[in-house]
């Protein structure tokens, strides 16, 4: 269950396909080796001064220092900074899940509605979350705290489409026989929705939520570009503006990576528990 579990659940439970080469290396060893490779390349780059990078050990020191005693410049520890960002992402993704899943089920189940909305959604989908910032300021101008809303909105946009598309996909891929069978046995539309469609589409919906959360977490850096409270995206950017803080920048990036893969893991585990029939 690693970083790249963004595909299907078959890989989580079963074994992956492959050519069958290098079978005697076990998975754990390969994992450790990949980490070691990165560290060696990094160390070499730093000690040969190919790039002006701090060494892995220096960076680790800074990283631990940031977690325990924090950055004196901002008077915040790294977990506090990450938590500020995570709150926004959780809020935005919660809204995104509610809106995108309900809309996705409707669009998957009601063909005319799907045709009606498809054109406009296809037009909106390629617009990157960052491009929404100026317009979002206009939309949320009267809310009292536009920056907060703009940030939530940008993450919302990032998370929305993966969830929506996966939900539509999940609903429309349901074998028609199940629906016909339920109908023949006298199920009401409400029963069909709750007892046939939703359970069948749930694995796909969860896929969407996982990808959506991932994209949302990535969008936070863009969202914090507008400023506001000190979050991880702005922390990296501000450290860059001050200069000489490459180790802090890498620490911030590592924190984003760790939190992102943790989010992924938590959702996967929840899915396993809520969708045992998968």
């Amino acid at each position: 269950m690693g970083l790249f579990d963004y595909s299907t659940a078959e890989q989580v439970t079963g074994r992956s396909a492959g050519l069958g080469l290098f079978k005697r290396f076990n998975d754990k060893l390969l994992r450790i080796m990949s980490a070691v490779t990165i560290l060696i390349i990094w160390q070499l780059t730093a000690s040969l001064q190919l790039l002006e990078l701090p060494s892995p050990i220096t960076t680790l020191g800074v990283f631990i220092d940031l977690i325990i005693s924090g950055d004196p410049l901002y008077n915040r520890t790294l977990p506090e900074i990450v938590w500020a960002s995570l709150q926004i992402v959780i809020r935005a993704c919660a809204v995104s899940i509610i809106v995108a899943v309900s809309l996705g089920i409707l669009m998957g189940a009601v063909q005319p509605l799907r045709k009606y909305l498809e054109a406009i959604l296809e037009l909106l989908r390629p617009i990157p979350p960052l491009a929404w910032i100026p317009l979002a300021y206009v939309i949320f101008a009267n809310t009292g705290s536009p920056t907060e809303y703009v940030q939530v909105f940008v993450v919302f946009v990032g998370a929305f489409f993966p969830i929506l598309l996966n939900t539509i996909h999940g609903i429309s891929m349901i074998n028609r026989i199940y629906l016909e069978a339920a109908r023949t046995m006298g199920a009401s539309p409400r029963q069909i929705l709750r007892q046939v469609m939703l359970p069948a589409a749930l694995p796909s919906i969860f896929n969407g939520i996982r990808v959506g959360f991932g994209v949302g977490w990535m969008s936070i850096v863009a969202a914090e570009f507008v400023g506001g409270k000190l979050g991880i995206g702005y922390y990296i950017w501000s450290s860059y503006s001050v200069g000489g803080r490459t180790a802090e920048i890498i620490s911030g990036m590592v924190a984003i990576g760790i939190v992102g893969s943790l989010i992924n893991k938590v959702i996967l585990l929840t899915e396993k528990r809520l969708v045992p029939w998968r």
Binding site: Q87, P146, E148, Y149, G227, V242, G243, G244, K272, R273
Partner: protein
């Protein structure tokens, strides 16, 4: 294990749903509580957020922040549009504080070109400061920034166009960087015995002294023409009124008088901010550029990017704009102010003003 994780997730969603969006604006108070043990309870705090100036206007209008500190013409735009008023301008707090400068890449050693550009710059500054040209300057300022004349007129009142910044004011800025722990490198680690030696080299006055000396003797003096085959790349910040001299030098023909033809051997490059200019200096993508003295100093030391300051562009030109109902700096206790970034000259200016009032700025 699974149960625990599920309940954590449910809890997170509960927080997300119940916390909503709007009430989080008041969280600053709770967050500060955590650090409360280190500070005496009676200390008055002012909260800072970091924001790009265009967003500051939106945030002030919406009431999300109580004030912002930025450079012109953002301040005068907010005031002219009625969103706020000046609580102080640069000169009220820190007379002659350095701001924008003209810097060169240390590796760019073509003396003729440097002299020609410094000459054009000084001519332009003297043009701007000559009261006889005030109408024309207003027009240029409006063209350069795209703002109307009311706005730029107010802005120009707060900007002092200079030919060279004061060394001791630069040192004061440097000291604030040291105190604020903003320097990762020290002047010693980039090869200077002390800060004096550093400033002697960083503030390269030799060209300015020569050119201004000649001009003072004879206002019609002109340095040698730059040959057509010598190419120079000049950087500046988009629509930054502090750098008006560059626009005036171009429009008044000072560049062409010394053989620099815009688009031929003079290439102008526009940048979004001083940090980007310093990156361009590092990449040898630009030879000379107008930029803030703050990013120049910070990145000169922290990232050891070899630049020297050959002329000043302006002093002052920043200010604190607050909501109309705030009347004194003392009223800012517990309020939120947006700054363009840590380590900017505006940040230093605000920090100075707040501390004199017994207020302590903390980042939100």
């Amino acid at each position: 294990m699974k149960k625990a994780l599920t309940s954590i997730l449910v809890l997170l969603f509960a927080i997300a749903v119940f916390a909503g969006c709007s009430d989080s604006g008041n969280n600053g108070g709770d967050q500060e509580g955590k650090n409360g043990t280190q500070e005496p309870a009676e200390e008055k705090l002012v909260y800072l957020t970091q924001t790009a100036p265009p967003s500051m206007l939106e945030q002030l209008e919406a009431g999300e922040i109580d004030g912002f500190i930025a450079w012109e013409p953002f301040n005068s735009t907010a005031v002219t549009d009625g969103y706020g008023k000046y609580l102080f301008t640069s000169q009220d707090v820190w007379d002659d504080h350095p701001c924008c400068v003209l810097a060169i890449n240390e590796n760019f050693t073509d003396e003729t070109t440097i002299e020609a550009l410094v000459w054009a710059h000084i001519k332009a500054v003297r043009f701007i400061n000559d009261p006889a040209n005030s109408e024309k300057v207003l027009q240029y300022a409006s063209d350069f920034t795209g703002k109307n004349e009311d706005v730029v007129k107010k802005s120009l009142e707060n900007i002092t166009y200079v030919e060279y910044p004061a060394k001791d004011e630069f040192e004061e800025y440097y000291n604030s960087l040291v105190e604020g722990k903003l320097l990762k490198n020290s002047v010693e680690s980039i090869g200077y015995t002390d800060s004096n030696k550093f400033f002697e080299s960083f503030l390269k006055t030799s060209v300015y002294d020569k050119v201004s000396g000649e001009l003072d003797k004879d206002a019609g003096w002109k340095p040698a023409n730059v040959p057509a085959e010598t190419k120079v790349r000049l950087g500046y910040l988009a629509a930054d009124l502090h750098q008006l001299a560059m626009f005036v030098a171009d429009k008044e023909g000072y560049y062409s008088q010394v053989g620099l033809v815009n688009g031929e051997n003079l290439e102008t490059k526009v940048f979004p901010n001083g940090v980007a200019v310093m990156e361009a200096f590092k990449a040898k993508d630009v030879d000379m550029a107008y930029l803030g003295g703050a990013p120049a100093t910070l990145k000169r030391i922290n990232d050891d990017i070899p630049v020297e300051i050959v002329a000043g562009a302006n002093n002052e030109g920043s200010g604190l704009v607050v909501k109309n109902e705030i009347n004194a700096l003392a009223d800012m206790a517990g309020k939120t102010i947006a700054v363009p970034g840590v380590g900017t000259v505006q940040y230093t200016l605000l920090d100075k003003a707040l501390r004199e009032e017994g207020l302590r700025p903390v980042i939100k």
